[in-house]
């Protein structure tokens, strides 16, 4: 076991002493927790966690190792990783290495051996806050550094994790050359930090997938003649992405018939483009067990979630309807435009990790795209 000491310092002055896991060093970010019992590698590589130190509530992590199969982006994107215990002895036929080595290779700073449940209860009661995992600084020095850091909400993480160049998603991999259009409908994904599984789900439904950078202009998007637009998930406060919101607004006014589907940050940006307001949740929703009611069908689905902000229900204009609500706290989980083929959800129908119960939304989108072509 790596016995190098590490500490987690919270900006409120709380200090948790533990051991280093993964890369030795210092990393700061917003401390959040996720209650999923499986899927740590998908979580590590989910770009929506950029800028965050992610604590997993399940105490045994790394049991089944890591595998190239389980990545949701080019590599780990979390700012740091907090676990009770990282398994040194993974066991699964698909495993290609240990979680510890994976973190080290990808220079992810982590800590283990702390009372993660105590940390979770603290965040639940006080709300998420900035923190630092460090093998280098003592508590007073670390705290001083933390106090000089900008707020998490001020960051524009989506622009950092987004692809910087356009690419084509083919056969479960990124291809830099975008082929001319075939007979298949083409979807443009605006990459605010997309998980690969969104791309996989689209591809599986017979759609061509072109991924464009977060900052793509409406003309750059139009140049690909999309039959549908996917607003992807991603990290950070939607209020920090006004330029992106403006592009969505332009896309909608230019082509009112364009099918559009937003997920997570994409949903929040769409909501803002439609005139809604967003706000920060106290400690967010991160896990694989959140019940969401589809108000249009009356059905309840278990969903995979990862978000720290939400749309304010009463801020949405006429003509836009809340379609989904979270049964735990009644927050908005989905919306649709009453006259256009435009809809979005706050949770993750692409799962990975989490339940596959909501893939029907991709079917719905694919149908709209194919119908509009």
């Amino acid at each position: 076991m790596n016995t190098m000491q590490a500490r987690l310092i919270l900006i409120d002055g709380t200090v948790y002493e533990g051991n280093s896991v993964g890369f030795a060093g210092t990393s700061s970010g917003e401390v959040v927790f996720n209650t999923s019992m499986t899927g740590y590698q998908e979580i590590l590589t989910d770009p929506s966690y950029a800028g965050q130190l992610v604590a997993l509530t399940y105490p045994l992590i790394g049991n089944y190792g890591v595998s190239a199969r389980d990545v949701e982006s080019s590599g780990p994107k979390v700012a740091g990783f907090i676990v009770r215990e990282m398994s040194e002895t993974p066991s699964n036929y698909a495993s290609q290495g240990s979680g510890d080595d994976y973190l080290t290779e990808n220079q992810i700073v982590g800590i283990q051996g702390i009372d993660v449940r105590a940390l979770v209860l603290k965040l639940r009661d006080a709300g998420v806050m900035l923190g630092m995992i460090t093998t280098q600084h003592d508590a007073p020095t670390g705290l001083q550094i933390l106090k000089n850091l900008p707020e998490y909400d001020a960051g524009t993480y989506a622009r950092e994790v987004s692809t910087q160049t356009a690419y084509f998603w083919a056969d479960n991999a990124r291809s830099e050359t975008i082929p001319p259009r075939s007979a298949k409908p083409r979807v443009v994904v605006l990459d605010y930090g997309t998980k690969y599984n969104i791309l996989r789900e689209l591809l599986e439904r017979g759609l061509e997938v072109v991924v464009l950078p977060c900052g793509a202009t409406k003309d750059e998007i139009a140049a690909h003649k999309p039959d549908g637009i996917m607003l992807a998930n991603g990290p950070g406060d939607p209020r920090s992405l006004e330029a992106e919101v403006e592009v969505i607004r332009q896309l909608m006014s230019e082509n009112p018939k364009q099918p559009m589907f937003g997920i997570c940050l994409g949903h929040q940006l769409l909501g803002r483009a439609l005139g809604g307001e967003t706000y920060k949740l106290k400690f967010g929703h991160r896990g694989a067990n959140h019940p969401v009611k589809d108000l249009t069908t009356g059905k309840v689905h278990i969903t995979s979630q990862n978000h720290g902000y939400a749309l304010q229900a009463d801020s949405l204009p006429q003509g836009v309807e809340v379609t989904h609500v979270n049964l735990n706290d009644n927050t908005v989980e989905g919306l649709r435009h009453l006259e256009r083929p435009v809809f979005s959800v706050q949770y993750h129908p692409e799962a990975s990790p989490g339940p596959k119960d909501n893939a029907y939304l991709f079917d719905r989108f694919a149908e709209l795209v194919k119908a509009g072509k």
């Binding site: 019992m37 389980d70 105590a118 639940r124 278990i302």
Partner: protein, 548 residues
């Protein structure tokens, strides 16, 4: 939908005398169900022949009948009480079989009693091995190659096609009664005969034996609005071939990736939907350790033996919620009894590990056959909760009350190498101790794996315990550093155990440990891994920093 106005009186059938495979868990389920129904103003008529049950207390139901659990007696009770509905899914296999027979005999129809929660048709589909296979195929769920036999001839024919090993599984039984694994003709004849005898409908399933595959269970729940959720999944320590009731079981699963977990979860939910069950259901699956192939093994269309474990492991009251669903409520209309703020419509998140170890009666009877196979032999079980697998396992071992503080069962150290290997190969009630002994003698995890096919993850954890045992042995009191004691306590080494290994006085060790501030903390089982405040949680001890 809220409570159905037409259901005002419900009959609950208990599970009768305690037998292997059907013990106190169904009293637990039935009692919870009675309370849950009465909470909604439903009057409960309870029938059970077992006086040593809480459900037969006069306070539990509105009318209690202590009667033989047979059709004539049940019919009399029905004629007298005229209940609106019968809840078949809480009295174990006995309750389910009787409900099925009452329906088939036309008695329910005669007195206009509705079968609640589980449609008659789905009892048939889940219990009749042949119909079950058909239905699985129709919804695209894989089942192992098998054939339904009603005589020895048919069994021989299948043997010629598939070869050995084969497994014999009787229909409409519980705890694997009458079945077994056949490695040769002699076994085959024997088990086919006993299986046919024990089966309610004189039918067995002969099936390819999934040697070395993982055994995993899902407890799932569905309501009348077709919302379906998973309460808990569980993984057997022993690979296929040891009945779940005779296997060490952990919750949640430890060696499944998210892809595997979700694949089996989706399968379980598809199954409960296809069966149309409104209430709880138990799905047993088998997963290939070398690929992501799986097979569906069995479905219990009712609250199962594992439901008690799953309920206590997660804090989710399965029987309570099942009963509410049976009288019309949907999951999003039922409160989460632990948080009191959220709803019963969610999937519990665990932030601890649960370990169940069966308790067998062999020591009482001095029987020579201590093998555990596909026919359940355990008479009880213990469960432990901790933040590490080692901690949960050691705590459960201490709960067994078989005097194993030092993880040494009697006679282990006298075994020859050959005897040891034989004992590793054939699962018995002692196998865990044999594994300890083998690792202690220097056998590698890989060797133990090759013999037992128990997942390396579990074996390596046990090897860690053995390794720490070795490091503690012979330590002086001064050399028990805070680090070493912390590690020992986190891995579940009790002071008495450390005393045994070091030869030191237990009280002296305790004093030193406390001197370092190493005292247990108590954490909550709250269904949600701390995400919401809990109103009526329960607790477990662990070596963490903060108590709640």
């Amino acid at each position: 939908m809220p409570k159905r106005p037409d259901i005002n009186k419900v009959m609950v059938i208990g599970s009768g005398p305690i037998v292997i495979g059907q013990a106190a868990e169904f009293d637990y389920a039935g009692t919870q169900a009675c309370a849950s129904l009465r909470e909604e103003g439903v009057s409960v008529v309870l029938v059970n022949s077992n006086p040593a049950t809480i459900m037969t207390d006069p306070e539990t139901a509105d009318a209690v009948y202590i009667e033989p659990l047979t059709l004539p007696f049940l019919e009399q009770v029905i004629a007298k009480e005229r209940p609106d509905g019968l809840l078949p899914s809480l009295g174990g296999q006995t309750g389910l079989n009787l409900a099925y027979q009452l329906a088939e005999a036309g008695i329910l129809e005669k007195y206009d009693v509705e079968l609640l929660g589980t449609p008659l048709d789905s009892i048939k589909k889940a219990e009749d091995r042949d119909l079950f296979k058909e239905m699985m195929k129709s919804i695209g769920q894989p089942v192992p190659e098998s054939v339904v036999c009603e005589n020895v001839e048919q069994a021989r024919k299948f043997r010629d096609e598939i070869g050995y090993p084969l497994i014999i599984r009787p229909a409409y039984t519980l705890g694997g009664t009458g079945g077994g694994i056949a490695w040769n003709d002699e076994h085959l004849e024997q088990f086919v005969k006993s299986g046919l005898e024990r089966s309610l409908i004189h039918q067995i399933l002969l099936e390819r034996y999934l040697n070395g595959w993982k055994e995993v269970e899902y407890e799932v729940m569905r309501d009348g609005n077709d919302t379906a959720i998973t309460i808990c999944n569980m993984e057997n320590f022993d690979p296929m071939g040891v009945h779940t009731g005779d296997s060490i079981v952990v919750a949640p699963s430890q060696t499944l990736s998210d892809k595997e977990y979700q694949m089996l979860r989706t399968a379980s939910l598809n199954i409960i939907r296809a069966l149309g069950i409104e209430g709880g259901c138990n799905v047993q699956l088998s997963l290939d350790p070398n690929s992501s192939r799986y097979f569906v093994i069995e479905v219990n269309p009712r609250v199962s033996r594992s439901s008690a474990l799953a309920s206590k492991a997660t804090g989710y009251p399965i029987a309570r919620v099942s009963s509410k669903i049976a009288i019309g409520f949907n999951l999003d209309e039922i409160q989460n009894a632990v948080t009191k703020k959220t709803l019963a419509c969610f999937e519990p998140a665990l932030d601890y590990i649960v370990c169940k170890i069966p308790r067998w009666p062999f020591d009482k009877f001095g029987t020579s056959d201590r093998r555990v196979t596909t026919q359940m032999k355990a008479t009880g079980e213990v469960m432990a909760i901790d933040r590490s697998f080692e901690g949960a396992l050691m705590k459960a071992l201490r709960s067994l009350e078989v005097g194993v503080t030092g993880l040494r069962a009697k006679g282990m150290s006298a075994l020859t190498e050959m005897e040891l290997e034989q004992k590793l190969r054939v699962p018995t009630d002692e196998r865990l101790f044999v594994i300890f002994e083998a690792l202690r003698r220097g056998l590698m995890v890989e060797e133990v794996f090759q013999i037992t096919r128990i997942d390396r993850w579990f074996l390596r954890r046990i090897a860690k315990i053995v390794e720490l045992e070795g490091r503690l042995r012979g330590k002086t009191i001064e050399s028990l550093t805070p680090e070493l004691l912390t590690q020992a306590r986190e891995m579940g080494f009790h002071d008495a155990h450390i005393a045994e290994l070091t030869g030191l006085d237990e009280l002296e060790i305790r004093a030193r440990r406390k001197g370092f501030g190493l005292v247990p903390a108590y954490k909550m089982v709250d269904t949600c891994a701390g995400e919401f405040e809990a109103a009526t949680p329960y607790y477990y001890s662990c070596f963490e920093r903060e108590s709640e």
